[in-house]
Amino acid sequence: MVAAGIAGYGVYVPRYRIKTSEIASVWGEDGEKLAKGLGVFEKSVPGPDEDVATISVEAARNAIKRGNVNPLDIGAVYVGSESHPYAVKPTGTIVAEAVGCSHDITCADYEFACKAGTAAIQTCMGLVKSGMVKLGLAIGSDTAQGRPGDALEYSAAAGGAAYVIGSENLLATIEETYSFTSDTPDFWRREGEDFPSHGARFTGEPAYFRHVGAGAAGLLKKTGTTIDDYDYFVFHMPNGKFPVAMGRQIGVPKEKLEDSLVVRRIGNTYSGSAMIGLARVLDIAKPGSRIFVVSYGSGAGSDAFSITVEDAIEERRGQVPTVDDYIERKTYVNYSVYAKYRRKIKALS
C-alpha cells in the first residue's frame, strides 16, 4: 500500500490577544493565580471579520504554498470545526474555491468537538492510500465560544491548521493512526445555543485523560513502539495543565512535550489545538525525528498518529509564516473590545 503523509501544512492565528488577567479582572478573580493554574496566559481573539472560513482559507493557502502543491491536484476537502459559520452550508466549499481547487472534488464539513480536524486527516489518509484522490486537504479550525464568566472563557480561542495529505514529496510520513471512541458527554452545545455546556470536573479523568490515554496506549500497541521511540509529543491542549498531566501519567519526559504547548500563549483553538501544536513541532524538528500526536474531542474520542519527519521538510521552511510568527504577531485588546469582537454585547447583535 502507498504511504500517506503530510505534503504541506500551514496555520493561521488571528492577531488579537486578550490576557487571562484582563478577563479575570472583569470577574473578580485572581488573574495571576488563574493563569498559572490553567497554564494559559493569553488567548487569541478573532477579529470582527474573521470566522472559521477565513481562518481555514489562510491556513490552507499556507499549507499549499509550503507544500508547493497544485491545488488542482486536491481531490478532497474536509473542514473540521465546532464553530462553522453556517449550521447548514459547508465551510469546505468556501475554502476549496478560495484556494483554487477544481470542482472535481469531494467535500464536507466535520464536527467532533476538538478533534474534527484530525478526523479529516484520517479520512484523507484513507482516500490517498486507496488511490481515490491524489491529495486531500484536511483542516481543523475554530473560533471557540466561552460563556462570559465561565471557566471556558479563559481558554476558548481562535486559530486553525491545514494539512495537505498525499503520498509523494512528503514533508513527514504518517506511519500509523489509531482512534479511541466512546459515548461520554463531557462537553456539548445543542443546536441553537450560543455557548457550550460542560461537566466541570467530569471533563478531566473520565473524558480527556481516559480517551487521550487510551489513544496513546492503543497506538503504541499497534505500532509496537514505546515512549522512548519518539522525540516529540503533542497532546490536545484544552489548557496548559491537562497535556502536561497526561504526559506525566504515561511517562513522557517534559522536554519532549514542551515545544508543542502553544496553548500557553494562544489558548485552546479547539479543532486547531493539537494540529497547531504539531505544526509548531514540524517547524523545528530535524528530519528523522519521530512525533507522537494525540488529539481529543469531547463526546468523546481521540485520534493518535505516529509521524516521521522527512528530509524534504528543510527546503520548504521559510516559505510561509511559522506558528511562532503568528504567535508573536499580536495586538492586545481589553475585555470591552473583546466583548465587541466576539459579539457578546447583546444590544449589538
Binding site: 493565580k33 466541570a200 470536573r201 479523568e205
Partner: protein
C-alpha cells in the same frame, strides 16, 4: 428478646471518590456486600435494613432507597427504610438499627449509608447540601456551609487566638492518615504551605480546609449480643448511642464557637457507657470543615475550650498522640458522601478496635467514639464502641 448490648459483626465500604462509572445502586450494593461478606452472616438471616441518605432525590433522582437496596440486594421481603438527618443521616441509620435490635424487634440488621454527589453540577451539589442548614434564613441569603463555618472560624480566631495555620494543620494530619486508607478519596499527604495557599472560598475557609464532593457508600451488620460470637471472634459492641438536637440556624445559638448538641450527646454517651473521655482511645469527629474538627475536639472534651488549636500544635490528635482523631482521614481526606459519612466513621472504628487498621492502627485501641454532625451542629449523633 430484648438484647442487652448490640454487636457489630460486619463492616465494609465502597471506594470513596469521584466514581464516574458507578451508580448510586452500584456503590450501595458494593458496601452492602462487603459488610455482609465481612460478617459471615447469610443474607437470609438479615431481618431488617436501614439506609442513611441525605438527598438521593436531588442528587440522583431516586428515593425509596430501603426498598431499592432490599430488591437489588436480593434480601427478600424484609422491612426497610431510609432515614435522613442532614449530614448525620449515616449516624442516624446506625442508631435506628441499634434501637431496633435493642428493643428486641430485630435480630440482625444491615445498615447502609450512601450518597452519589458527583452526578450534578457543583452549584446544584452546593445547594443540595445547603438545605441541611436553615434554607429560608441562611441558604437563601447565600449563607452556604463554607460561609457559616467561616463565621464560626472567625469568631473562634477572635475569641481564642486560633490561627489559619491551625485550620491547615487539621488538613495535613487527616491527609497523612488517609494516605494509609485504601478506601479514601485523597490517599496522599499535603504539605502545610499548599493548604495555606489554596483558594479562598469564604475567608478564612480555603478549598483545602473543606471536605470534598464525594461518591461513596458504607455498610455495617449489627446483631444481638448473644448472636455475635456465632458470626465472628472479634465482635465490636455499641456501648452507647446518643443523639441531641440544637437550633437549625447558626444565628439562633448562644455561642457559635461551640456545638451544644455535641456537648450534650457526648456527655450522655460517656455516662451511658460508664466511661470518661480518658477511656476513649480513638475518635472519628465530623470535620466537614477543619474548624469543625477543632471545635469538636473541645466540645468532646479532648481539649479545653479554646485550646483545639493548641491540641493540634501538641500533636495529641495524631496517630500516636493521646487522643487520635480521624485516623481514616476524616471527612476532609476520606471524603464526605453525606449520607455515608456517619456509617463510614463507624466502619473505621470497627477496624481500629479489631486491630485491622493496618498502617493507621492505634495500638491496643479498646474504646472508640464517633461524632456525626448534621448541618452546623443542629444534630449530633454519638456512638461509643468497645471490643
Amino acid at each position: 428478646m430484648m438484647s442487652d448490648r448490640v454487636a457489630i459483626v460486619g463492616a465494609g465500604m465502597s471506594k470513596f471518590g469521584e466514581l464516574w462509572d458507578k451508580s448510586l445502586i452500584d456503590i450501595t450494593l458494593e458496601a452492602g456486600m462487603y459488610s455482609i461478606f465481612d460478617s459471615g452472616v447469610s443474607g437470609s438471616e438479615i431481618d431488617g435494613l436501614v439506609v442513611g441518605n441525605m438527598s438521593a432525590g436531588r442528587f440522583t433522582g431516586q428515593e425509596h432507597l430501603g426498598a431499592m437496596a432490599v430488591d437489588m440486594g436480593g434480601l427478600g421481603s424484609i422491612p426497610s427504610y431510609s432515614v435522613e438527618a442532614g449530614c448525620a443521616s449515616g449516624g442516624a441509620a446506625v442508631r435506628q438499627a441499634y434501637m431496633a435490635i435493642k428493643s428486641g424487634e430485630h435480630d440482625v440488621v444491615l445498615v447502609l449509608g450512601c450518597e452519589k454527589m458527583s452526578d450534578v453540577s457543583q452549584t446544584e451539589a452546593m445547594n443540595t447540601i445547603s438545605v441541611a442548614g436553615d434554607w429560608e434564613n441562611e441558604g437563601m441569603f447565600g449563607a452556604t456551609f463554607p460561609a457559616l463555618y467561616a463565621f464560626m472560624a472567625r469568631r473562634h480566631m477572635m475569641e481564642y487566638g486560633t490561627t489559619e495555620e491551625h485550620l491547615a494543620k487539621v488538613t495535613v494530619k487527616n491527609h497523612a492518615n488517609a494516605a494509609h486508607n485504601q478506601w479514601a478519596q485523597f490517599q496522599r499527604p499535603v504539605p502545610l504551605e499548599v493548604v495555606m495557599r489554596s483558594g479562598l472560598i469564604a475567608d478564612p475557609i480555603r478549598v483545602l480546609h473543606s471536605s470534598p464532593v464525594t461518591d461513596g457508600a458504607a455498610g455495617l451488620v449489627l446483631c444481638r449480643e448473644d448472636l455475635a460470637k456465632k458470626y465472628t471472634d472479634t465482635p465490636v459492641y455499641v456501648e452507647s448511642s446518643e443523639q441531641s438536637s440544637d437550633t437549625l440556624a447558626l444565628h439562633n445559638r448562644k455561642s457559635i464557637t461551640q456545638m451544644d448538641a455535641v456537648i450534650r450527646s457526648t456527655r450522655s454517651s460517656l455516662k451511658e457507657a460508664k466511661l470518661t473521655i480518658n477511656d476513649i482511645d480513638v475518635f472519628e469527629l465530623h470535620d466537614s470543615f477543619t474548624i469543625g474538627e477543632i471545635i469538636l475536639t473541645e466540645d468532646v472534651g479532648i481539649a479545653k475550650k479554646g485550646e483545639g488549636g493548641k491540641a493540634l500544635d501538641e500533636g495529641i490528635t495524631e496517630i500516636g498522640g493521646k487522643f487520635p482523631v480521624n485516623t481514616s482521614g476524616g471527612l476532609k481526606a476520606r471524603g464526605h458522601p453525606v449520607g455515608a459519612t456517619g456509617v463510614a466513621q463507624i466502619v473505621e472504628l470497627v477496624l481500629q478496635l479489631r486491630g485491622d487498621a493496618e498502617k493507621r492502627q492505634v495500638d491496643g485501641a479498646e474504646k472508640a467514639m464517633a461524632v456525626n454532625i448534621g448541618g452546623t451542629g443542629a444534630t449530633s449523633i454519638v456512638h461509643i464502641l468497645g471490643r
